[in-house]
Amino acid sequence: MAQIAGDTRTLANDPVPLIREKARTIRLTALRMVYAAQLGHPGGDMSVADILATLYFGVLRYDPSNPSAPWRDRFVMSKGHCTGAFYATLAEAGFFDRALLDTYMGPLSRLNGHPNRNYLPGVETNTGPLGHGMPVAVGMAIAGKMDGADYRVFVVTGDGEQQEGSNWEAGMAAGHRKLANLTLIIDRNRLQQGARVEDTNTLEPLADKWRAFGWEVADINGHDLRQLHSVLSAPVGDRQKPLCVIANTVKGRGISFMEDDVKWHHGIPNAQQYQQALEELSQ
């Protein structure tokens, strides 16, 4: 079988084509959900789609028919407002029927604007208010370490979300405890709800901050699927520290008029924009 240069995997085992296909589906599905609901956070859905696709179709171990299996890897969607992408991912991964996505944010839907574990399999903890995922993920990682279990814990936060102090409380504890089974992925799209992150409350030097908290840091292109997969699927091995992946992304990625524009944090496309977006994502 053909080999990729510098890669020992065979092409047949290369997960990237599948991840790419799933990422495209997640983006298209999220866009349709947001447009149908006339509600949502499309900018962040698009920036995080490649991260979610990589995790669910190239990294995480789970069984959608047994969502609470003790051995499963844990994923915490701390940026809980990006349910368009998250629900699309869970449906794609088989946790529930895709038809349910049509009810997104509708009356009495199980698909609340922010995820609820009591409504949906595959959701580990209820998020929405920012800064909640990290402490919970730290608790999961401590439990796993305590039991000598080999499951890993992944948590995705937004970059604006890093302004919440609870991330740093949890980050300090994870560094102190050397929770190598914990990976934080920061969706670094550089925009928060109202403005650029760096103009609001600067995060830089972000990598240095996490290093100072006792973490190993990988600063990568969050839309380079091969790079994402390589960093996220690498075994813990000898690493003694938790891993922070700064995934540099573009808010609205894949839809030209949404890219890097703050108004698409929770902007809803009109009919014409919607058609254009569908076409661009389908290419």
Binding site: P70, R74, N116, R117, N118, E124, T125, N126, T127, G128, P129, G131, H132, M134, P135, V136, A137, V138, G139, M140, A141, I142, A143, G144, M146, D147, A149, G165, S166, E169, A170, M172, A173, H176
Partner: protein, 320 residues
């Protein structure tokens, strides 16, 4: 029984009963772990830590992290007892308690230590008289305010056995061991009638139960028959016990907490909507002046004499 007659040796800090009960459970159940915010000593968990250091998670002075870590440990199959001074646990981490614990509906036990006015002279930042009002608004969360060492130990066991979130409000102000029937058993959501009576019902919990019993003795000397109810579970509330108490025609609630939104509020909601009767709510009015625990109890009438006076007044009997 009488707390006045009890010597200091007969008075107990309920935190000791909490720690003993938890250690006994932890011996038999590996899933039990503790999470603290540098609060090992103030939670009386140094013994637990010594026996099971690997099951003691001290996150440092970081309450938001502490509560979230509790939720994560529950996700990993543990039964975490998250123990900290009630003032910091509830106020500082309120959103974590709401979203990560109650709304997520996870198997975490929150332990509010030194609740109420236990920190006396340290002042309103350290008093936790608001905790019950805040927490009572959260669905799924069971709220228990034990009255003495026996009930504290039993409540710890019951909380561990319940698959769901629980808040245990543990007192530090010394209380006597209440006299109970041999076959007394603690049940979450079940009020305990400690003294029969039909003129007025005194509904109390925590440190106020023994005082309510003494108040009933004082009232008995005047020919007033007071029922005394220990309402240790505030959520879910034993509404039937409240309706039955309201049938006496007069209800006084007494708690080591704010007069707004706590036990008194919970009882008032039942009385106002299903069995109106005369009612008084005894507790603390708001930010309190400086003073010792005993001074503050005395100053705000949370004494046997003060409770009796309130009941008497409610019944229109004037002063004794």
């Amino acid at each position: 029984m009488s707390a006045n007659a009890a010597s200091a040796a007969d008075l107990f800090d309920c935190r000791d009963a909490f720690a003993r009960s938890l250690e006994a459970l932890a011996e038999a159940d590996q899933r039990i772990v503790t999470v603290v915010n540098d609060s090992l000593g103030s939670s009386k968990l140094n013994g637990f830590n010594k026996r099971w250091p690997e099951r003691t998670i001290n996150v440092g002075i970081a309450e938001q992290d502490m509560v979230g870590v509790g939720a994560g440990l529950a996700n990993g199959g543990k039964i975490p007892f998250v123990s900290a001074a009630s003032c910091f646990l509830t106020a500082r981490a309120m959103e974590q308690i709401k979203a990560d614990i109650a709304y997520s509906n996870v198997n975490v036990k929150l332990v509010g230590q030194s609740s109420g006015i236990a920190y006396g002279e340290l002042g309103p930042t350290h008093h936790s008289i608001e905790d019950m009002a805040w927490l009572r608004l959260l669905p799924n969360l069971t709220l228990i305010v034990p009255s003495d060492p026996w009930e504290t130990a039993e409540a710890v066991k019951a909380a561990a056995a319940l698959d769901g979130p629980v808040f245990l409000r543990i007192s530090r102000a010394p209380v006597p061991r209440l006299e109970r029937r041999q076959d007394a058993r603690f049940e979450i959501g079940k009020a305990e009638v400690l003294r029969a009576g039909n003129d007025v019902a005194l509904i109390a919990n925590g440190t106020m139960v023994t005082r309510a019993l003494e108040a009933a003795q004082l009232l008995a000397q005047e020919g007033i028959s007071a029922r005394v109810i220990n309402m240790s579970t505030v959520a879910p509330l034993d509404a039937e016990a409240v309706r039955s108490a309201a049938a006496t025609g007069a209800v006084v609630t007494i708690e080591e907490g704010s007069v707004r939104g706590g036990l008194g509020g919970a009882v008032a909601e039942v009385i106002a909507t299903s069995h109106p009767c005369r009612m008084r709510i005894m507790g603390f009015p708001g930010f309190l002046p400086t003073g010792s625990v005993d001074f503050l109890f005395e100053h705000f009438g949370l004494t046997p004499a003060g409770i009796a006076a309130s009941a008497r007044d409610l019944l229109g009997r004037g002063t004794a």
